[in-house]
Amino acid sequence: MNGTPQPNPAVTFYGAIPGCRAPVRADASVLGTLPTRGFQYCEALRAASSFGWYVFPPIDFTLQWDGSQIIWTYRGAKAWYPLTSAQFPGYRAVFDRVAPAHLRGYSPPFLSAAPEPGGIQVWTGFFIESAENWSVLVRPPANLPRSLAFDLYEGIVETDRWFGPLFTNLRLVKTDIPIHFSTETPLVQVQPLHRSAYADEISNRFAVVDDPRAFPPAAWQRYEQTIVKPNVEPRPAGAYATAARRRRRSGCPAHAE
C-alpha cells in the first residue's frame, strides 16, 4: 500500500501482522526483470505484469520436504520444526491483544500442511476485501521467473462477500532441498476481477472458425490492418503500445457504462 487514502478502493488489504511488508502495485517492469525491449514496446507484457498488486511473505522462511514430511524454519529461529500447522512467530499473543475479547484464541495460522503431498497453505499476513461485485484472482506474480521447487495454485475469491485472510496454496515439488521464501520477493499477485468478466455465460460464449476459407472478409481486413500494414509500411516501434495507452488514458472502462 502506498499510504495514500483512496476514495473508493477496489481492494483493501488489512495488515493483520504488524510490521509486514505492505502490498504494492504490481510493476510493469516486473521488478526490473523484464527484457528492456519488452518493457519498452510490448504493451501486452506490461499490462499483464502491472495488473493488480504484489503481496509478499510476512517473514523470510524456509521449507524442506522429504516427500512425506515437511520441516520449516524462519528468520530468527534456532532450529527446524516439523510442519503441521504453525502460527506466525509470536502472533497468537499479538492477535489476542488487539482482537475483540470473543475472538481471542482464533488467530489464523501462518502455515498449514495440507493432506495432499507437499501441499501447504500460506497466509500472507493480510486480510482482504473488495468492492461490490469485484472478486480477486490470487495467482503467481505474472512474468516473474518462478522457483522450480514449488508451484502455486491460483484461486478466485469473492472477497466482497467473503472477508478473511489472504492466503495461497502451494505444492512443493523438489524434495530434500531447502526452499526459501523471502519478504523481498512477491509471493502472489492479486488481481481484481469484476464478477461479470469470469461469469460462466461469458466463458461459455465462444466461437471457433476452424478453416481459413471460412474467415469473413472483415477478419481479413483486420489482419491486413494489424499485421500486414505495419510490416510493409514503416511505422514507429511500439505503435500498438502507444494506441493502447492513449485509449486507457481516455477513460476507465469499468466506469464507462
Binding site: Q64, I71, Y74, A77, K78, A79, W80, Y81, P82, T84, S85, A86, Q87, F88, P89, G90, R92, G105, Y106, S107, P108, P109, F110, S112, A113, A114, P115, Q121, W123, G164, P165, F167
Partner: protein, 48 residues
C-alpha cells in the same frame, strides 16, 4: 597440501555439512488448530 588450503577446505566442508537440527516444538509458533482456511487441512469427510 598447504595448511592454508587445509584450513579453507575444512571451513568450506563445515558450511556444506551443516546439519539440520529439527526440534519437536516451537512455543512461539504453536497453533491451537482453532482456525483453518477454506476447506482446511483435513479431508472434508473427516470434518464435523
Amino acid at each position: 597440501m598447504s595448511s592454508k588450503k587445509q584450513r579453507v577446505l575444512r571451513k568450506a566442508s563445515k558450511k556444506i555439512a551443516k546439519p539440520i537440527v529439527v526440534r519437536a516444538r516451537d512455543a512461539s509458533t504453536q497453533d491451537s488448530g482453532a482456525i483453518r482456511f477454506g476447506n482446511g487441512s483435513a479431508p472434508a469427510i473427516l470434518r464435523k
